[in-house]
Amino acid sequence: MIAYAWLVPLLPLVAYIFLLALGRRAPEGVVSSVSVALTFVSFLLSAAVFVAVGSHPEAATSYVFHWLTLGSRSLDVGFSVTHLNALMLLVVTLVSTLVLLFSREYMRGDERFAVFYQYLNLFVFSMLALVISPNLLQLYIFWEMVGLCSYLLVGFWYFKPEAAAAAKKSFVVTRIGDAGLLAGIILLFLASGSFDDSTIFAKVAGHSLSLGWISGQALTTLAAILVFVGAIGKSAQFPLHVWLPDAMEGPTPVSALIHAATMVAAGVYLVARLFPLFAASPAALTTVAWIGGVTALLAALIALTQRDIKRVIAYSTISQLGYMMLALGVGAYAYGVFHLMTHAFFKALLFLAAGSVIHAVHTQDLFEMGGLGRRMPITMWTFLAGALALAGVVPFAGFWSKDDILNATLQTGHPVLFVFALVAAFCTAFYIFRVFFLTFTGEPRPAAQLQHTEWSEAGEGGPVMQVPLVVLAVLATVAGFFNSPLNGYGLERYLFADAPTGAGVLGRTFPENVGLMAVSVVVSLLGIGLAAAMYWRPVIRPASLANGLRLLYVVSYRKFFLDEIYGAAVVGTGRFLAALVNAVDRYVIAVIVRAVGRIFYAAGLFLKYTQTGQIQTYGVVAGCGLLIVVVIAIFRAGGVL
């Protein structure tokens, strides 16, 4: 079965090519049915692969083919299936299938419906191919391809200036990270002579990485940090997180698939996959942990005050990705991956539910919604499941994974990061229930009633939209049990079957950490309670609280002014440099160029008088030339005479 894993990414590619051949006027039903069906087959295959790998406890199974030879080094292509890859395949295909199904209704009537599905299929193909790439070069190729698909899909409604700008921003910002990743890959290749993971890991473990100017520990750290820069860009970690909230300009299914469940998790996946490299460098691991912790807290704080439903969830995504990085950084490899999986489910669910709401009321502003629970019960209950999972309430999925991360952080001796994560958990519970209460409870806001005549017809989408919601809600509820004491931490055992060396198994026994579990649940419930007190049964008036903490409120609402700071620092510097270069170009180079032009123009002014148009004059000149040639040929050079 494992030998057929290459079919998994191939099927979406087939769908993509098929849709391309059908053209952009293809009927919506055909387009979406083909896509969903092929992706679903992909999902079944991945499930089979997942099970097959589970019974194969040995290390990665790779199938590679020689591609080309560079000097003495040879490059391979192919695919490799590890336990981590198999899990990723399963998650990606599952979420993709549901999102493709959901889009069928959500995008109905869009002029470029077929194009949308083309892009989505291309994305699914790239993402799956990224996951099963056997070496870093191939991974990088697909890494860029998912970036491209993200760009295309964020800018799908390119006629909206915000969408076009957001697409550009996401592309440029992730490019900064990609440059780091590419540099890291090249560095590893130069130092180890291979793009292949296992070769690199062997060299790292044997401390035999070396270059002329750097070697040993410093080289490992440098390479790990550079690779991590790529992960920062892709996974929207501080300080390169600014693109993800803007990317919400894309259609909501895109946000659910790419910017919550799969592509942004690629950064986490990359760090998990190259974990032995990071494990060999404590400095790199510490960097990962701190970036993750700071991101988790910062994004959660920003999410507290945002008005746009999708932006709240986007910041939540950044925050949760921070948690995953934190887990990897403290060495809890399995927990990071576990959280990646549960997060994929409940965050895709939250986005799709938000999409369902937006589909119904045509606004994204929280303060224009309200009272939708009565009209959209399925959306409300599924959103509630996702919110509880995100907040980390027993027994929903997020509880198990988040609790594991908190536990690992504390046990490995990072108290500051533990506090960060705990505060972030409180904020998480608060902001997601703020969204919940503002959207689904209370009365419809009067402003909204005036603005949107469709309000009275707002209601559930068809069954096509409800099925993915329900499936994801079930998963968000139960996915946590994959790795709970109830099944003896099954996922951990699964992952550790071929876990990279250096991924620490954290000593943990169930009864001892009940205290910590209780703390985290209490913190979550406190956050939920505060949200309820402010927005459900208004004990505390939000406005007065915001006025009381005016400064903090503004800082959070304006996203810590990071966009403005980047604008001033990066863009300003760029403008200044550009002006400098422009001046050099205009006053030095252009002057030289113009002078050269003038010289030849002046020469032309004089030489034009030789062009009299009199053929006999030309004939005389040519004849004299002929004479000279003949004379030289006869008397000097040729020696004819």
Partner: protein
């Protein structure tokens, strides 16, 4: 001095004097007549060199057709045109000097070259008369160039007709 040699010098004298006459002629019509003299002189030279067919073709084509064509062209254009008197301006001086020098150089090199001694025992006509031998060569050895030249003639003919035809927009 054998007969043919004397005949050669006489013919050469005729040809060159006709050519000089052509240069000095002021009226176009005189010029056309003197060029006819040159053509006939050349034909005589060919006959003298045992190239009977070429000589006859020369008379037919050059002395006959081309001279008449030129006369027609003169009549159709400005047939009263007179060549202005020769002026020694820079261009003409340069042309004269160049031509003289070229002539001198060529003559010098002809004089200095050791020409191979002709073998008179070979009959270039291979036992046939000269027209028969040329016909054989044209249709056997040179069949393809011959056909190509016929094509060229057709093209030139059509081209000449197209060019000389008065166009609608001119009227």
């Amino acid at each position: 001095m054998s007969g043919p040699l004397i005949a050669f010098y006489v013919i050469a004298l005729c040809v060159l004097s006709c050519a000089v006459l052509l240069l000095s002629a002021r009226r176009v019509i005189h010029m056309a007549l003197s060029v006819g003299g040159v053509f006939i002189g050349c034909a005589a030279l060919y006959l003298l060199l045992d190239a009977e067919f070429v000589g006859v073709a020369q008379i037919l084509i050059y002395a006959g057709a081309i001279t008449i064509l030129i006369l027609f062209a003169i009549m159709l254009t400005n047939h009263e045109a007179q060549e202005p008197p020769f002026r020694w301006n820079v261009r003409n001086v340069l042309s004269a000097l160049g031509c003289l020098l070229l002539c001198a150089v060529i003559l010098l090199s002809i004089r200095r070259t050791a020409w191979p001694v002709p073998d008179a025992s070979v009959d270039i006509n291979g036992g046939n008369s000269n027209p028969v031998a040329i016909g054989m060569a044209l249709f056997k050895q040179y069949a393809i160039p011959f056909e190509l030249v016929s094509l060229l003639l057709i093209v030139a003919l059509v081209g000449a007709v197209l060019l000389a035809r008065s166009r609608k927009e001119d009227e």
